[in-house]
Amino acid sequence: MMQVRPNLDYEGPKSHQHHRAFVFGFEYGFLKEKLDQKEAAKRANEQLGFVFDIGPNPWSKPATSSFGCKPSLVKMEYVSPEGLRLDGRRPMEMRQIRAEIGTVARADGSAVFEMGNTKVIAAVYGPREVQNRSQQISDQALVRCEYSMANFSTGDRMRKPKGDRRSTEISLVIRQTMEACILTHLMPRSQIDIFVQVLQADGGTRSACINAATLALADAGIPMRDIVTSCSAGYLNSTPLLDLNYIEDSAGGPDVTVGILPKLDKVTLLQMDAKLPLDIFENVMGLATEGCKAVANYIREVLLENTKQLEYRRGL
């Protein structure tokens, strides 16, 4: 039998609402008309626009018993018929971005980056002497990264802010992305530490962290090939959506995170979960790349403004 595979990599609590996009197919199929499973899947595919399988799992039961949804309930709409998303944005619109440099005075470089309600602080310490001699690399710098979420960052209070599997994975992802763009061969036998702290999580924390880390590295004056910017995009209700927030992210649709080097026009980070047909995937990835370029423009403005401030303070 085939299995439903909704996206369970949520940052917060699970509730039945997250799976309503899938439940629709079953509500319709099992309650309104006596459709067999294949018909229901086909109907749901037409409505939701992507392929999924059905099989023996909790969500294939009739809706009323599991979730208390009534048959007359309309399916969860992430894009209204007028083309507005749940928070009033258009499908191609990003959330509001805000960035600030130099917030942590003691760090060599630091930045705060906000994408909508997602707020992230990054601090960079380095280049400095390697603390653990055994990890020293003789011809390049060692780049280390740690990602942690504050206790209060998600809706439900998190018990263990560090060391869980998701944090470890994101730390690795950020480290690899930034390592690709730092000119590590210019700083042999030294260490660069990137610390990212999430203050508020509302979807897209990965992207916000990478953007914040880029700004912090630039503030620290560490030589880089190019800035790295990142943005996420998804596909719900047959529409590619740019910059998903938490509700859209937990809807169970695909979530594509892209990180690019804008001037060199190269992709350094590409992650996706759930399934997408290939042509739609190209669309969604192109949309995310456009989002990255918009972020890159904003970051360049912020850095330029910062440099002007520094010039002014030096009396130039």
């Binding site: 917030t103 942590v104 601090a123 206790n151």
Partner: protein, 287 residues
Amino acid sequence: MVGLSVGEKHFIQGGIAQDLRSDGRKRLTYRPIYVETGVIPQAHGSARIRLGATDVIASVKAELGKPSALQPDKGKIAIYVDCSPTAAPMFEGRGGEELSTELSVALQRCLLGGKSGAGSGIDPSSLVIVEGKVCWDLYIDGLVISSDGNLLDALGAAIKAALSNTGIPKVNVASETSGDEQPEVNISDEEFLQFDTSGIPVIVTLTKVGRHYIVDATSEEESQINSAISISINRKGHICGLTKRGGAGLDPSIILDMISVAKHVSEQLINKLDSEIAAAEANEEES
């Protein structure tokens, strides 16, 4: 932090002896305090305090829970502090755990009173909804973003500000149940009860360097401490908690002297903090 040379150490100690510290302050002067409230929208109350380069955020979250069997008429309060690695590279991984635990325990001692809940700055009986069955669990989380000395004072002030910003939702007990059944409670989205924070103490840390005491030490000054005492004092001038840190022994008369100095300093600090919190809340309402 980079180590200090002998010359720098003498400079710091000499300045303190002459009542002129490295940044121009007197011994008993605090750095300018900036308060921002409501920084974490999904928490019931939050505040961010900047004391020079020290930057801390405190958030208050209330969840429904069951009171303990030993004290059925009291809610539960827990304070946790986390040191973010952005504050110092040594806080990476488990490195900040020792300092976090020390700060959490010191704050609990200063703000929450004894094991029975007596003498607590926050009254736990105001948190109970249905005696023996339903109560509010208050989780107070502190996060240190940037550290430049005097973390305990900053965290104490941030918690005080966050609590005055906290709105606990009003609860209607839906039905009368008897025995062991859990009563149904409706949490209202509209009405909020504000916390009464006049009883919450502030924490004043006095650091003894050489023969003099200073208030609000920066991390360079903290590296020179012989010993330090953190005292939490409330508005009435009562001492709510005391912690001594540092290896050097202190003569009892010196301790009493430090306590009276702390009392004197705390009056100004409480007034300053209250006005800053009021200004911050007014700002928050406008925006």
